[in-house]
Subunit: 309 residues, 2 copies
């Protein structure tokens, strides 16, 4: 069985060595043009040439949770797309979002500014009941984040395309549920997949429906957010600030207003990083299952191309 590794931005050697160690029966190679035909691909944003040269591929294992970049390409006709199913990502998301929510709710930036200027000062504690946190997107990552925030006794709301039930979380769904979800949220966390339906979903109209003093956390994809609308609503006072990990263009262009905006914290797409060992173990396990007779379509993380995730 032949396996090709083709991940833009990842150093291939440790990945290929790791896949060989987990799948000793496989012929694992780093893709170069003209490579022998393979059964499976392990990919991240591969060049179109790779896909065009390998029409016989049975499955493409994406080493991230989001497949929006891959689905923009022309894929081999029979290839299923399988995205990463947690593999150490959900705990990182829970950390990142909890950190951002707590930092804002507990006013730690304000305390630090006081300390820097030599001031020992108290702020009146804010009321947790007034800080409902709304999670858009209740997949593996969104559900983990929602559950974690309930541990901190915040009122937690969730929104997803199709109805979901999560203990301790008030769930809304579909287009019909969106306005109520937004009106019930003071902090908005985006963990949606990027699809044509969710592109620009955070815009002036939707963000204006959040509670006054809202806070926005985007850890999904930059294209979920209309940058200018967020800045206008922050500068206008309806939104208190934002923590953004993802951007329309990454790295963020050097002249973008987000770099220096005093109420926006940014990080370089680091909220949930692909962990090599966990990812190799998960993909190798799935390949072993398929080789053992499990249908690819029954794997966790298999993507419905029509739905886009």
């Amino acid at each position: 069985m032949n396996l090709l590794f083709c991940c833009v931005g990842a150093k291939p050697e440790p990945w290929v060595a790791g896949l060989r160690a987990e799948l000793p029966e496989a012929n694992v190679q780093d893709w170069t043009p003209g490579a022998l035909p393979a059964d499976y691909g392990v990919v991240w944003a591969p060049p179109q040439q790779f896909l065009d040269e390998q029409p016989q591929l049975k499955a493409l294992f994406n080493i991230g949770a989001g497949v929006d970049a891959l689905l923009k390409l022309r894929l081999p006709p029979a290839a299923s797309v399988v995205r990463l199913d947690d593999a150490g990502m959900s705990v990182q998301m829970a950390e990142y979002v909890s950190h951002a929510v707590i930092r804002h709710f507990r006013e730690f930036d304000g305390y630090e500014a006081d300390i820097r200027s030599g001031k020992w000062s108290y702020r009146k504690p804010l009321m947790r009941a007034n800080f409902p946190v709304g999670i858009m997107g209740l997949g593996v990552l969104g559900e983990r984040v929602a559950r974690t925030l309930t541990q901190f006794d915040f009122p937690v709301k969730g929104w997803s395309r199709s109805p979901k039930t999560i203990e301790g979380v008030q769930c809304f769904s579909g287009e019909a549920g969106m306005a109520d979800f937004l009106a019930a949220s003071r902090v908005l966390v985006c963990l949606l997949p990027l699809t044509p339906e969710t592109t620009n979903i955070m815009n002036r109209e939707t963000l204006s429906k959040l509670q006054p003093g809202a806070y926005v956390i985007n850890v999904a994809r930059g294209a979920h957010l209309v940058d200018e609308d967020l800045i206008a609503l922050i500068d206008g006072g309806h939104i208190a600030g934002a923590t953004l990990d993802v951007f329309r263009n990454e790295p963020l262009s050097t002249d973008h207003a987000f770099w220096k905006h005093p109420k926006i914290n940014i990080t370089p797409h680091t909220s949930a990083r692909t962990l090599r060992e966990e990812t190799i173990a998960q993909i190798a396990g799935k390949i072993r299952a398929v080789e053992g007779g499990t249908p690819i379509t029954s794997l966790a993380g298999v993507v419905d191309p029509n739905r886009g995730y």
Copy 2:
């Protein structure tokens, strides 16, 4: 039934009004010298004169979790001391400590420094398995913090004077267990009560036993920590840094090295603030129970003066 409020640093009016609303049958007054004899006191760091004038007091309800300041005073002979039992404090502690642990583990300060200087840079993710977090003190607050950190998949260790069992936490106890606990911890969180036995418990000898690159979080009392020893171990490289919320003298004296140390984050004793409504409701509930025949000694939070907590 007479109730006196005597809390240094707290504005008395809303407390007295709140206690009157919860206990309409009680005569609630803000203490002034020469006040009528009371059955109960609601106190924080009261002047010795209050205690000396009220020898008939049956119970002193402390509006904080730590009673070290109160126990240094000469108390009325029959007065039980009852400390705050959570009342919204444990979730605040879980927030504060989680925020500090995640901030350090995820290197958010490093990322922010990069962003401030216009750099979009990745850091290799640290391994969670190499970041065991040790909690010293497993009372209501310590146990909540320990359970919360297990949600983030950190290895969690606990130490307490007497043996405890907490699911998912490796617990050590007593003097005999201290060295093993420290050697098993990379992050050390202090949530102990301050007693003669725990004063200066974080010193050069104990802190040197932590794993290299250790991180110290003190949210208990300033006197648990020997300040100079922490600074020497940070400057010497064994300890990576610290987050400190409590200090020997508060407010922290303006010339203290903690204010400007680049590896020490400080906050002005704000990790778990007394929440007035929750605290009034808890104390009023306990007073109603005692008036209804419940022995004071069976109340949650009743202090054993010999043990000191």
